[in-house]
Amino acid sequence: MKILKATNIVKYFTEPEKFQVLKGVSFDVEQGEFLSIIGKSGCGKSTLLYILSTMDTDYEGTMEINNTTVTGLNQNQLAAFRNQHLGFVFQFHYLLPEFTALRNVMMPALRLGKYSDKEIEHRAMEKLRLVGMDEYATKHASRLSGGQQQRVAIARALVNDPTIIMGDEPTGNLDKANSTRVFDIFKQLAHDNKQTIITVTHDVDFANGSDRIIEMEDGRIIGTHYPNGKQG
């Protein structure tokens, strides 16, 4: 099943002068697919990912996620949609510094309000365990190292069991061991839970481990590879 359909995405920046960052990007993503987007710095990967994440609404073209046309929805609808269906790991580990690691992970789930606080805490703990951060649960986010914050941010992206998890260089701040760990988590989520992974990455090993690589250059897709052979 197609979980995401991007059709002819065009994006301009008007400052400092008008220039076209994305020049008509179209692709589909299957449910449970582990997709990597690669390309040189400045080619528009992050920009594309922000559009896919529904946070950036200032673009041309249409996007459909989980059979919902998200293009044209208002900010509140999009926020609710993100809360439930999307998990996002930012390029720079962004946690709420005043809160503990555990509280940070719980936050999107508390917002969703699908489970009781107790249940949410339990689930958040599980996600922290998954990324190997459970022993830091009660530490304040501001006291964690960059790599640790990154892993907590991944746990937070997972807490609502989103349909799609997006990451902008999610392993950029991690050492080899932790990168591998995150990769394994993503792989498992995709193949066992049928959750879809879309990551922008510079890490060649990481990309080569995924199901499909989309290569971008200068605001366009210039190639698609299946490093592990085309599926089904």
Partner: protein, 420 residues
């Protein structure tokens, strides 16, 4: 909207920035406490002057004014021809008594009206108080002692002696403090009083009163109606004023109209007309109080506005994350509004407490009133309504001051922040 979560985030923000929160809170505290102190004191002063004036002021007064005939009269003993009239210019008033006709009966009639609390008949006259060869001009008031006590609390103004002593002897008076000092008399001394018509009577001073108003205390004395009638050599039905107290002071001007329509040949005056300067002073004080208090609250409001704006600029990243992970604009607004409101409530209650504390201190501070004012400490009015108003407006100010920054927070574009 998850209020519990919003509240949790809001309190966490406030608690991690304790110093900033306390400063914002103190702004409100300052505004509210000043409001409480100002308004307690100002209304205390108003109440004091009003009591001082109104205790002694009839709500409606009936008297007979001296009237100049404004019709021209012609000289009858001169030949009046066409275009050749003899007219008397510059007439003098007739030697008409300022007596109210059937004053005591009228008093009883008015007393039966439903609006009326009571009527105190009074006979007033200018007199000279003779102190050796010196004559001191002043006024003497003949009163119905019991009515005067009941309606105008004259008995409460006594410094020495009792007002009831007027009923115990004949030819006795009570005298204003200032007048007694000028006359150099004390209780038990005798004074001689001369009426404008030349009647003279030797009276014994049985009490000294003070209203706290120099003009009254330096010129007045009171005696029974009969005593004053005796000085003036008038009959026992002679009264010059009927002083009326109503159940509702605000009904005075309406009641005045009613009396005017029913009565002839007398003049009716209500307290508002008689005390315009007092009322003007009061409304000026009220306006001043409200201007100062509004200014204080606006200043406190700007303080909160600034701090909340700064707070939101500092929290841009957090707002972006919250929005990226699915918090809606309204959630973000709620988080920051709650912070404002908590600052407002905490600051407001603290302000009420501080305000009460200083009002209390003021209320036990000796007031340098001189010897005339009947007041020992600063007049302070502890009215719970002021505290409710203070809290309400403090709360409103923080709501208002927090609203615009919070709305701005809701509009933060997460992409712009996260992209860096």
């Amino acid at each position: 909207m998850n209020w519990k979560l919003a509240l949790n985030i809001a309190t966490t923000h406030l608690l991690t920035k304790k110093r900033q929160s306390i400063i914002a809170m103190l702004g409100v505290t300052f505004g509210i406490s000043m409001f409480i102190i100002m308004i307690s004191f100002m209304t205390g002063v108003n109440q004091f002057t009003e009591d001082m004036a109104m205790d002694n002021t009839p709500h409606v007064r009936i008297y007979k004014p001296l009237e100049i005939e404004d019709k021209k009269i012609i000289a009858l003993d001169k030949p009046q021809k066409e275009n050749d009239w003899y007219v008397v210019e510059h007439q003098r008033p007739k030697n008409e008594l300022s007596k109210i006709k059937n004053g005591l009966t009228l008093a009883m009639q008015i007393e039966r009206m439903p609006e009326v609390m009571g009527v105190a008949p009074q006979l007033s006259s200018q007199v000279f108080y003779n102190n050796g060869p010196v004559q001191i001009p002043g006024n003497i008031y003949g009163i119905d002692v019991k009515k005067q006590e009941a309606l105008f609390q004259l008995d409460k103004k006594m410094d020495e002696g009792e007002l009831d002593d007027l009923l115990k002897g004949s030819d006795v008076i009570v005298m204003g403090k200032g007048l007694a000092k000028k006359m150099n008399v004390t209780v038990g001394d005798r004074v001689s009083v001369t009426s404008p018509e030349g009647g003279n009577l030797n009276l014994k001073v049985v009490g000294i009163f003070s209203f706290g108003v120099a003009a009254m205390d330096e010129s007045r004395s009171y005696a029974t109606l009969a005593t004053v009638q005796k000085i003036l050599q008038k009959d026992p039905s002679y009264v010059t004023d009927l002083n009326i107290k109503l159940h509702d002071i605000n009904g005075a001007s309406v009641f005045k109209q009613k009396l005017e329509n029913q009565l002839d040949g007398v003049y009716v005056e209500d307290w508002e007309t008689a005390n315009q300067s007092l009322l003007a002073g009061e409304s000026i004080r009220n306006i001043m109080t409200f201007v100062v208090c509004a200014t204080l609250l606006v200043v406190a409001g700007f303080g909160i506005y600034n701090i909340m704006n700064m707070n939101i600029i500092n929290k841009m990243k957090d707002i972006a994350i919250l929005k990226a992970t699915g918090f809606q604009g309204a959630d973000v607004t709620a988080i920051f509004m709650l912070q404002s409101v908590m600052i407002g409530i905490a600051g407001g209650f603290f302000g009420l407490f501080i305000g009460f504390f200083f009002s209390y201190l003021l209320s036990i501070t000796p007031f340098p009133a001189g010897e005339f004012f009947r007041i020992d400490t600063f007049p302070v009015n502890f009215n719970p309504v002021h505290y409710i108003i203070g809290l309400f407006f403090g709360f409103l100010t923080t709501l208002f001051a927090g609203y615009f920054p919070s709305k701005r927070a809701a509009k933060v574009d997460p992409v712009r922040i996260i992209r860096g």
